[in-house]
Amino acid sequence: MSDAVSELREPLTARPVSYAEITADIARPLEGKPTRLWYLGIGISGTALLLGMLAIGYTISTGIGTWGLNRTVGWAFDITNFVFWVGIGHAGTLISAVLFLFRQRWRTAVNRSAEAMTIFAVLCAALFPLIHMGRPWLAFWPMPYPNLRGSLWINWRSPLFWDVIAISTYFIISATFWYVGLIPDFATLRDRFRGLKKKVFSFLSLGWNGSARTWQRYEVVYLLLAGLATPLVFSVHTIVSFDFATSVIPGWHTTIFPPYFVAGAIFSGLSMVLTLMLVARKVMRLENYITKGHVGSMCKLIIGMGGIVGLAYATEFFIAWYSGNPYEQFVFMNRALGPFAWAYWIMVSCNVIVPQLFWSGRIRQNLALVFGLSLLINVGMWFERFVIIVTSLHRDFLPSSWASYKPTLIEVVTLIGSFGLFFTLFFLFCRFLPVIAIGEIKGVSQWAQKKPQEVGSGGGGGDGAADSTVNGQTEEANA
């Protein structure tokens, strides 16, 4: 990230700040008392979490007969939620790994919270297959461990098992990536705090002292992890789509599913990152670091991904017609005009039409509006999974077995509970960990960019032409 600073680009922080100010600003939410908004936020999400736990407790003690599933629609709300949450996680990796590889320096303001979001979203996702098993205490059975039943190994050919491995790997690698990124910040916080906090951060910071040799290896490892996470994120949602695509159900059995799911996942995740960014910015008072420029960049990414998703919807319809397969054609006509047409049109309007509003710069600058639109996209992407799963199943090959599906209250409360879990974890993260990568934001701050003269020969790895007249007032402003 040592490229030149363009005069044409907006600065990455709203107002120039010194390194010490950056540390103080980002550590502030961890010190003293949280804001009222924070208490309000965690109050609401904590209540939702408690309700969800009650619903899950009831489901597990009674059985999944508490859900609205029937013999025709065997997968509905829970698998929709699973795919929805896994998808949310993907934008975190996109921002932390893919944008890192593309040297998009604006990511520094959002990558930490996006990575946290990935981990929390994967936790929420893992919840649903777990409770769908009916006996979650046997959830370790899909793991290939030597057992007393023979050893009876698992069926490696099953996409559902691939999913177990992919999601577990994704969780482990994302958590590792997140932790590695946090180590230098833990060290900064350790040297800032006293008492218990110092002890905790001291333990977590592993004795980090900022030595150039450590930094060199750290940078190499960070780059490698980004390089590993990038194909991983594509593989994970590809494998999630295999859960559907390898079946023989019309509407699921299509080769477009892997790229379609990956694009949809990143799209939904971006809108969730945007939602969270705007929340964190307000609740944690980080307006100086999460600027309108960042929000604008996110909106532009959403336009791009929304375009791919829209193209995928159109392609599905085209292929259904072009294939000449009557079952395929029926499923798609049924989606758009059948009993679940309302869900289909919510999906299309939220995912294809809403992102087009972001073409307007004025809308991108209106944060309240952006917040509302990002929520709409979240809703649309939830319905996308609902449409794919339920409308493909509910009218199958024999009209005598056609059925409908309606979620029960328990299922709805479980979904609310998963949002509660997600936001509770997120608010706790905002309170107890640095929401912005302190080390990385220092590297891109205007203070760092203001180079009085060229870096000595061989010293700068391209750092040279960073003398920016736009930022010329930095020094005076801080004096």
Binding site: I172, F177, V180, L206, W215, A448, G459, D463
Partner: protein, 212 residues
């Protein structure tokens, strides 16, 4: 431990970069630098060799690939073959996704473990800081002092010339053990106090050969 070192603190990363380059051009031996964030180009200015951790990553990944491929073959074709949908025992195309995930898992965990071990990053280890603010807003350069035959003030003057706000000369082992920041809040409670100077190993010079 009679080796003497010069210890210089800078306020800006570019000053540190240029000072490092200049000091090394003059033939001094740079022991280490400490920065609050990754200063790009510093490894080149210090003359550090490229890290070999990429190879660790590659071989861990290779191991993951081979191991997961073998394990799937062995468990489904050798140890207990089960007929699933009439597929051959060794239906290897179906083994690709798990082998791929195994590659990523082993490569990622392996390279992180290797880095932590190589950098001596161990949970609960007391940090050995050269100055209190080095994780906040100070950039510290530690250079071996000149032997005989060099003008005594040359190094200190050179460091000041490049913007060092503080320069000290001291015995090597003290460099990273005392708070060097007079403006800091309470030097006596500096975190570095936790580790005592009796340690024989020189932490700053650890990995002196500049490899990983």
């Amino acid at each position: 431990m009679s080796a003497r070192i010069h210890w210089a603190a800078f306020e800006r990363d570019d000053e540190l970069l240029r000072a490092t380059q200049a000091v090394r051009d003059k033939g001094y031996r740079i022991i280490d630098a400490f920065t609050p964030f990754a200063v790009h180009g510093l490894d080149r200015a210090m003359g550090l060799r490229a890290s070999r951790l990429t190879w660790v990553c590659f071989f861990c990944g290779l191991f993951g690939l081979v191991f997961m491929t073998w394990f799937q073959y062995w468990s489904s074709a050798v140890d207990w073959p089960i007929n699933v949908g009439g597929k051959p025992w060794n239906s290897w195309p179906a083994f690709v996704p798990v082998a791929f995930e195994g590659t990523i898992l082993f490569a990622g965990l392996g390279v992180v473990a290797a880095m932590l071990i190589r950098c001596g990053l161990i949970p609960g280890r007391a940090p050995r800081l050269p100055a209190e603010r080095v994780t906040d807003d100070r950039f510290v350069l530690v250079v071996a002092s000149a032997g005989a035959g060099r003008p005594p003030d040359e190094l200190a003057n050179l460091l000041r010339e490049f913007g060092a706000v503080e320069v000290h000369e001291e015995l090597e082992h003290r460099a990273q053990l005392e708070s060097r920041d007079p403006s800091g809040p309470e030097p006596s409670s500096a975190p570095a106090e936790a580790s005592r100077p009796e340690e024989a190993g020189d932490p700053v010079a650890q990995g002196e050969e500049g490899r990983s």
